[in-house]
Amino acid sequence: MSVSTEVRNRTAGGVGDSPVRPDGMFKVTGQFAYSSDLYMDGMLWGTTLRSPHPRARIRSIDIGAALKLAGVSAVLTHDDVPGERVYGLEIADQPVLAYGEVRYQGEPVAIVAADHPETARRAAALIVVDYEVVEPVTDPREAVGHPYWKPVHDQPGQRTAMSRDKAPVHPEGNIVRHQPVRFGAPDTATADVVVRGDYEVGMQDQAFLGPESGLAVPDDDGGVDLYVATQWLHVDRRQLAGALALPEEKIRLTLAGVGGAFGAREDLSMQVHACMLALRTGRPVKMVYSREESFFGHVHRHPALMRYEHGADRDGRLIYVRAHILLDGGAYTSSTPAVVGNAATLGVGPYVIPNVAVDAWGVYTNNPPCGAMRGFGAVQAAFAYESQMDRLAAAVGVSPLEIRIRNAMSEGSVLPTGQVIDSPAPVAELMRRLEAMPLPPPLSEDLRGMPGGVSNTTHGEGVRRGVGYAIGIKNVGFSEGFDDFSTARVRIELVGDEPSVLVHTAAVEVGQGLVTVQAQIARSELGVERVTVAAADTQVGSGGSTSASRQTYVTGGAVRAACESVRVALFERAAERYGPGDYRLVGGTVESTVDGMVGDIASLLLEGPVERTVEWRHRPTQPVDEATGRGDAHVQWAFCAHRAVVDVDVELGLIRVVELAAVQDVGRAMNPDAVLGQIHGGSAQGLGLAVMEEVQLIDGKLRNPSFTDYLIPTIMDMPPMRVEVLELADPHAPYGLRGVGEPPTISSTPAIVAAVRAASGVDLRRVPIRPEHLVLPAARPGSDSGIAPGTPAHSTQRP
């Protein structure tokens, strides 16, 4: 077994410490090489021609003029794709380059390589595509519920290695996945107090700062090396192998510096295109998206239409919840099936509810494809169920805190899927801790602290303060029976005369601090301070995706397991040298439990290094039943709760978030500073969804693909935070840790909206809130009949 916490901490920079991140020095000096910084002599620049139409048939593509432009080396279309013409995470249905039809605005149609990026862009503009424009399907209700629905796809996609067993493959119709959850007797349950509401979540963008980019280098063996910012090297490689018709071993990926991810790098963007251009031209090809192109070049968070009905007794104890959740998946599958699974299985929140009926749908439209973003299906549902909890509190006459505490799940509670929560679930405690936190001072007299800020729109007149609360639940790791594993190679050897450890995984650092925590684990497990984490690449087995808040858990688990294996080998050497006994490695020394220190680790390495590679899995999960949602789908749950304090100018509809307070259970704070960083940053993204962030579409076309018009929180928008971190160990997880990254994004949005409702008295049903929703009743979405998702029962029948 592993050594105790107390002993671990005797090796500096180990688990529970906050050592400085190993890449920090490079990042503050400008030396850290991001994927857009790569350079190679003789390299070409690639660019992408994209469809201007959300839906059109392609009659012809003429590349003649583009090819003739001086400086252009290659112009490629779908005819030039060497292998499979479609790719995808769960279902391969997204064309590498469009053929026959384009299904969303921004779909790649052709690619160009040239000696200057501007030359490449000019050549792309010379490509003539003859489109026959077709009316797009842009309303997800119409996509599934309209009597004259129009299918977005006429061919089924292909299953991939990541397909869930029961994932439908849309043979006809636009439903990617419909997942019901049935628990108790939801059809017959009745209640004294009933609240109903329709809710809407707009399309959010991950808005990482580092644009999609990478460098593809052709190799003499006919293969290709790709340096790229991504979230999962091995799944990129699997999709590349299919599209390029190359064996996987001829495609070598190395992680370039990643400028944030948040889900948007889980799907491919420029990977296949750059490799195609490099293989065709025989020269290195670099591609870097502009910010505008980035908005077209990655998936977004699914917009949602939701109808909820909560029934409770007169004390506010929940009797039933019925919910419809309709998620717009856009033109291609991406990770929509898994997002639907999360929305369905976590759709009623962290509460004990005897009768539940949830139906979640993910559908195809001709809107931009939607897929992974931090919170992944749990964000949308939480906005609806937390809004409902506040309405229930008001109907019963108790506080928002009290309604949540009365219905809180705890360890041993049963989810609507039938799964038992078998680790701490401190829902009530999180709410009580928020209640105990002091409130911020009253309205700022500094103009910069007021709604409208330096725009000088108010000096306090018309400004009302409000306080709101919310809590969310998120699964950690890949669910529903997915074989979720990571691989770690750990080597210990003498460098100079000092023991030194090298940790090598393919797990992707996106900024969260995974490189730091991998080294911390190795220090604690092997008692060696000098630890290096090798660059992530495909020379070692898969690390799984940097998503689902899973890397510290799963790759951390793999690093620990590999260290344990190394330790066993070192103990065998210790037994030969010092005789049989119980040994441990601490602070560079070998200790016997009987005799104390017997020698140093370096002496065990004189006979050579020890290296072990271990593949590590978390405990298995199960698929859920297609009709009832029953199944032990999740490996772990994480909880975060927020209190938001806002000032609202009720005359102008301007909002200032004055303070955010958060309490989160992280099981074990592996790196307390990094934990805080995740809670701060996740909360900020939830703030963005509450009050400003939306990819706006009209007839399937993006209106705001820029940071001028798609607003993310600045340092002026983000208020000071109070954060409390709980460490209630999960007995099933390495070190007792819980995934940290996603939960803070889930609860901050509904908490802020609740605070704005409290300040303004306006019954807000949609995020992001716009000023007109506060001041113009006619502009307010979400009357209880206006945005209903309806029941797409007849959606599989052609008219």
Binding site: Y39, G260, F262, G677, G681
Partner: protein, 159 residues
């Protein structure tokens, strides 16, 4: 048409040949002078990731035409330290956990460096106003504020 561009960058005279007239200062720094520290996140002056000092003024290098920088004195993130030691603000960004993905960091460092040169003891409201043009998507800005406060403290105690 192309031009030859001469500037002082981080104290060193330098020149770039064959500069296309439509190129930005950011492109010249990154692609012609081998200084990719200044970042290309939006290239329309909204995010601040490309912030540099030009003639002592904070500018978005993406909005400066290459020709406008002729003869200018430019300081990028690569020039903040003295080659041996980090500038105080660089060290406090590392120490405070203000760096996550780090893509915004070079621009924030230049802006904060400039702020502390003008105002060695800024209030929180002043720090927020000064950094309002630099977007960060990872940190929620809390630890960036910590880093600027810590740099102010360290600089005042070393004077």
């Amino acid at each position: 048409m192309t031009i030859r561009l001469t500037m002082r960058v981080n104290g060193e005279p330098c020149a770039a040949d064959d500069v296309w007239e439509g190129e930005s200062l950011l492109y010249v720094l990154r692609e012609r002078l081998g200084l990719p520290g200044s970042k290309n996140a939006c290239e329309q002056g909204e995010c601040g990731s490309c912030t540099v000092l030009m003639g002592g003024e904070v500018v978005c290098a993406c909005l400066v035409g290459a020709g406008q920088a002729e003869g200018a004195d430019i300081v990028t993130v690569e020039g903040l330290g003295d080659g041996e030691q980090l500038a105080t603000i660089q060290q406090t960004f590392v120490d405070s956990g203000a760096v996550q993905c780090g893509f915004c960091t070079p621009g924030l460092l230049i802006t904060a460096f400039d702020l502390l040169a003008r105002d060695p003891d800024p209030t929180d409201a002043t720090i927020r106003e000064a950094l309002a043009g630099n977007l960060c998507r990872c940190t929620g800005y809390e630890k960036i504020l910590d880093a600027v406060r810590l740099a102010a403290t360290r600089q005042s105690s070393s004077r």
